[in-house]
């Protein structure tokens, strides 16, 4: 076998292999999202985060503006502490509120941001003060049944 031919085909093979890896990274995966230098991390404390997971999207007006970095339990306040990275191009006022929402009926949990009206913007490491917990279906049904029973009893 001519070594030129071998070299050509090996070169071809390596190029095709790396091209498909690049395709996977850029077209299929989300490489480059958390990479941009201007992104900043803020934290928020919730009474209940439902089934929010690490890497869940952070959305404002339905547009994904960041990702959840970590979820842990704050033993001092008995609350869930969620830290999220927000893309640097998006700025939010300090009185922005965060709530745990669900996309669709069976969908995943995500953090929804509702911008406030403050003049100053959130910086890296800031805490979002106004938060709203996830809606837990059992509690919702329990409250509904309780209300129903009360209204029936009042009749």
């Amino acid at each position: 076998m001519n070594s030129r031919v071998v070299e050509f085909w090996v070169g071809m093979f390596v190029l095709v292999g790396f091209a498909s890896l690049l395709f996977l990274a850029l077209k299929v995966g989300n490489l480059g999202f958390g990479e941009d230098a201007g992104s900043y991390t803020v934290i928020a404390k919730f009474n209940n985060i439902g089934s929010l997971k690490v890497r869940a999207p952070v959305r404002a007006a339905g547009v994904t503006v960041g990702r959840v970095d970590s979820v842990d339990f704050d033993a001092a306040g008995y609350q869930a502490r969620v830290s999220m990275t927000i893309t640097g191009t998006y700025q939010f006022p300090t009185d922005t509120s965060a709530s745990i929402l669900t996309s669709g009926v069976l969908g995943e949990n995500y953090v929804g941001l509702e911008a406030g009206a403050d003049e100053t913007f959130l910086k890296a490491g800031d805490q979002i003060q106004i938060t709203q917990s996830a809606v837990v279906l059992e509690q919702l049904i329990g409250r509904f049944l309780y209300d129903k029973a009360q209204s029936n009893g009042g009749k």
Binding site: L21, V28, N30, R55, L106
Partner: protein
């Protein structure tokens, strides 16, 4: 190594002898892998040797990997659509196909194909070189056969495997795109954007690459060992070739379970 089986002292003794022989062989294979790694210098200082093996193990596997990837992706697209549409979430097809290919099917199926296409060829080649006493001749000429014959084949396989797996996944996603978007009519924007939102480079794609590298090492190690260890007869070489395909396929599946377990534990999801 199986001669211990020919005169078992008792039935229980036969089980013991079999177990001891299996452990001994595992040890030999590990020592052999150590020797291959120790004599790998030649593969780097004489890259032409390794390039030739990348050609035989990798470049010649291009067609089978691309065609299999395309068809596996097309079938995944069809089956995935069928199931997802009952929940009214057929736009998640991209996510389903991409995650199953990148995390599992890409590395595993291409490793199984690689074991049967390239692994068996490596074993047969080395085994036949041994049967025709080329290996002994090299030893006589003070050429280390492990450095000259085995190590380049080992590294050729290790280099080829991740590239083939990436190609398999890419072709599979393309196949699912053809079936899902072009033929069935899933929304193209949703197909790609949901996929990009769900597939993470570090957690999903790199895990697949790491898996395929480990599989490459495993298959190449089994194939070269079986070839080098084959009895120098026609029957011995044919048995060694069969053993390479069986053992390396089982090794790939077992390693996949272990690696998946580790990776899921590590990333916490």
């Amino acid at each position: 190594m199986w001669e211990v089986l020919k005169k078992p002292t008792s039935h229980i003794g036969a089980i013991g002898a079999f177990t001891l022989a299996a452990i001994q062989r595992l040890g030999q294979a590990t020592l052999f892998l150590g020797q291959v790694l120790r004599h790998s210098g030649t593969s780097i200082t004489r890259p032409a040797l390794t390039v030739r093996e990348v050609y035989f193990a990798g470049a010649l596997s291009l067609i089978i990997i691309m065609v299999s990837g395309l068809f596996v992706g097309m079938v995944l697209g069809l089956q995935g659509y069928e199931t997802l549409q009952t929940y009214g979430s057929e736009e998640k097809l991209g996510v389903l196909v991409a995650l199953s290919l990148v995390r599992e099917l890409g590395p595993v199926v291409s490793a199984l194909l690689f074991a049967s296409r390239a692994g068996s060829a490596i074993t047969a080649e080395i085994g036949l070189m041994k049967a025709t006493e080329q290996i002994v001749a090299m030893d006589m000429m003070a050429v280390n056969p492990i450095a000259r014959v085995v190590a380049p084949r080992f590294w050729g396989g290790v280099i080829s495997m991740p590239l083939l797996a990436a190609l398999f996944s890419a072709m599979g996603i393309f196949g699912a795109y053809i079936v899902g978007v072009r033929l069935i009519g899933v929304d193209e924007g949703a197909f790609w954007s949901q996929m990009q939102a769900a597939v993470d480079f570090d957690h999903d794609i790199m895990n697949g690459v790491i898996k395929s590298m480990v599989f490459g090492v495993g298959i190449s190690a089994v194939a070269t060992f079986e070839g080098f260890d084959a009895p120098p007869t026609a029957e011995g070489v044919s048995r060694a070739t069969t053993r390479t395909v069986v053992h390396s396929s089982l090794l790939v599946l077992a390693l996949d379970l272990v690696l998946t377990g580790f990776m899921m534990r590590m990333w916490g999801n």
